[in-house]
């Protein structure tokens, strides 16, 4: 009962001194709003990571020809994987699919008087299984297409839009480089590739045709996509593949790999590395705002304790115990920070909505954000409210009333 009365009085007190209350709240409002925005960005980014991860496949290992650091797909010019590598990887225990493919980026494409550039992949029929991505229209690359080195292709959505607009591309003939290909299917839409580029700006042709007719790489393979049965064995199988390749490529123990292996865990690391810096920066801003806001509150509360000495003395004279005074001032500080937290939450939500309109990144508003706003407001209120409250509670009534 007493606490309820003191609580309502604390909020009434805020209303009596609107300007001062608002100034006390500004830091908290900024801090909480920033926190809400960060949380939304983080959750949005996590969603993106999950989406990319699903594109990549949680049970996939990509084998890139050529060593060095991680970057985009390996081009045919650096292809050094062999048919023997392919067979040996296939026989590693737990490996379900090995889909080899050749890659060339930014190849010129022409249809009638339309030009564009696209990534071209030479693939085996199992490419569709390995990427879980077939055609929405027409046919994918068949075994026969590969055996007969047919000049047929399957095009991605972006290529279709660029070259055919709304027309039907099936049966049309387009030029990849200087070679004529007949369109026999349209790939399922996929959006972003594991590397983050447009995965629909893609043309898939038979592996053999790519190697011999288009990319002049009859002997070596640029990339392989390995699908394992159980994602939890990803690491173990990766290591086995690495051993197989090192042995096949006759690498001595002091030589570096002349290939790269990538799996979902590394992808996550890569993406997080980029967005992490921004998050740390924003978190720093939020943290600093909350600390500065808390110090402002503590400062004003300390001044307020001096200003209200008479009130404190009077309250003690009429029966308030030290802990009642302590409680009153802590509640007043909490009233400031919690109200500030609510305003901050609203400002943060508005900020997210504006960002959504400006950048198109969907706003993620969660109950965690609300809980966080309340939690931090509460903690700041307690931490920076206790010191002034203790000063108030310790006042001697006779001194205070003088």
């Amino acid at each position: 009962m007493k606490t309820i009365r003191l609580t309502t009085n604390a909020f009434k007190g805020l209303a009596k001194n609107k300007m001062r209350s608002f100034l006390m709240m500004v830091g908290i409002i900024i801090g909480i709003a920033t926190l809400i925005v960060i949380l939304s960005i983080t959750q949005g980014a996590n969603k993106k990571i999950m989406a990319r991860l699903n594109n990549f496949g949680p049970n996939a290992i990509m084998v890139h020809a050529g060593g060095g650091k991680m970057r985009g797909p390996s081009s045919v010019s650096e292809a050094n994987l062999t048919q023997k590598d392919l067979r040996d990887i296939s026989s590693v225990e737990g490996v379900r699919i090995v889909a080899p493919f050749q890659v060339k980026l930014n190849m010129p494409i022409k249809y009638q008087n339309q030009f564009t550039t696209a990534t071209v992949m030479g693939a085996m029929p199992n490419w569709a299984d390995a990427w879980k991505r077939g055609v929405t229209k027409g046919d994918f690359i068949s075994t026969e297409d590969v055996e007969l080195l047919k000049k047929v292709c399957v095009i991605g959505e972006t290529v279709r839009k660029e070259l055919f607009a709304d027309g039907n591309p099936i049966g049309a003939e387009l030029l990849i480089g200087k070679v004529k290909f007949k369109v026999q299917g349209i790939l399922q839409k996929r959006g972003a590739s594991p590397g983050g580029s447009d995965f629909d700006n893609l043309i898939v042709i038979p592996f053999s045709t790519a190697s011999r007719r288009l990319m002049n790489q009859p002997k070596y393979i640029a990339m392989m996509r390995v699908i394992v049965d159980d994602p939890s064995h990803l690491k173990k199988i990766s290591q086995q593949i690495r051993q197989v390749l090192r042995r096949n490529h006759h690498l001595s123990s002091d030589e570096e790999d002349d290939f790269r292996l990538r799996s979902s865990t590394q992808i996550v690391k890569m993406i997080k590395g980029v967005s992490g810096t921004l998050h740390i920066f924003l978190l720093l801003i939020a943290g600093l705002s909350l600390i500065v806001g808390g110090i402002v509150i503590m400062n004003i509360m300390l001044i307020s304790v001096s200003e209200r000495k008479k009130e404190i003395g009077l309250r003690k004279a009429v029966g308030a115990r030290s802990k009642d005074i302590l409680l009153q001032f802590v509640l007043e500080s909490l009233a400031v920070t919690l109200t500030g937290g609510i305003f901050g939450f609203i400002v943060g939500i508005l900020g997210i909505k504006i960002m959504e309109l400006a950048t198109g990144t969907p706003a993620v508003i969660s109950w965690e954000a609300l809980a966080l706003a309340f939690g931090f407001s509460f903690i700041v209120g307690i931490i920076f409210g206790v010191q002034p409250a203790r000063k108030a509670a310790k006042l001697d009534p006779v001194e205070a009333l003088r």
Binding site: M1, K2, R5, L6, N9, K16, N17, K310, E311, G313, L314, R315, K316, A317, V318, G319, A320, R321, S322, K323, D324, D396, P397, V398, L401
Partner: protein, 247 residues
């Protein structure tokens, strides 16, 4: 049978600036019966305020014993003293000490906030009616005259139905009419059975009480009954001009 207030050999020593010792009270002993109207008189610096703080349980004496309602107050904790102030003592101060930007009703409710009472606004309203301010309950202190503010303060002192009303120079900030109005309230409370202790430096105010205890240099210099206490209400009627209607 037991006296309401029994103070024995009360001595209060302050250390000023850590070194100089000031004896504010020296071996003061006094007894006050239930229902008495007593004035404590003295010049400023005489120790009368110190005595009031001790009698009001706001401070503990350096030495000596103080029994309030038979209870030895010296042995009580700060929290217990707060409880006694809440239940048994109603304070009235020279500067009123009303909370600003807070209406009369909420000011009067203040002591009840620290009690276990639940019907606080009703009690506060009754107390305001008892001092003739029924029509001013939602006025803020800044909208009230000095006399009215002091009567709000008296209502606040009364609201918990305490044994003792302890008033420290209650008329010090008031003109003579408002001061007499306040004294009239005390005389009525006394008539209704309350114990009233009035601390003042003014002889003409003290003579409204039935007993005057004089303090000088921290010691009791005199303690006598008043033969014919002045009647504040009668004096008000003899003053020219309108007097506020009192219940």
């Amino acid at each position: 049978m037991n006296k309401l207030i029994r103070a024995k050999d009360i001595t209060q020593i302050y250390s000023k600036n850590g070194s100089v010792m000031v004896k504010a009270l020296q071996d003061v002993s006094l007894e006050i019966e239930r229902g008495e109207f007593t004035a404590i008189m003295g010049a400023s610096g005489s120790g009368k305020s110190t005595l009031m703080n001790i009698l009001g349980c706001l401070a503990r004496p350096t030495s000596g014993e103080y029994f309030l309602d038979g209870e030895n107050v010296n042995n009580l904790s700060d929290d217990d003293l707060a409880k006694i102030r809440n239940r048994k003592i109603g304070f009235v101060f020279q500067q009123f000490h009303l909370l600003p930007r807070t209406d009369a009703l909420e000011n009067v409710e203040l002591p009840l906030l620290y009690s276990e009472r639940s019907d606080i606004s009703k009690l506060a309203q009754h107390a305001l009616e008892a001092v003739g301010l029924a029509d001013r309950i939602h006025h803020q202190p800044s909208e009230l005259s000095g006399g009215q503010q002091q009567r709000v303060a008296i209502a606040r002192a009364l609201v918990n139905d305490p044994e003792i009303i302890l008033a420290d120079e209650p008329t010090g900030n008031l003109d003579s009419r408002a001061g007499l109005e306040v004294i009239a309230v005390f005389q009525r409370l006394h008539a209704e059975g309350k114990t009233v202790i009035l601390v003042t430096h003014a002889q003409e105010i003290a003579e409204h009480a039935h007993r005057i205890i004089r303090i000088k240099d921290g010691k009791i210099a005199g303690d006598e009954g008043v033969q014919n206490p002045l009647n504040a209400r009668g004096e008000l009627e003899n003053l020219p001009g309108e007097t506020e209607v009192m219940p």
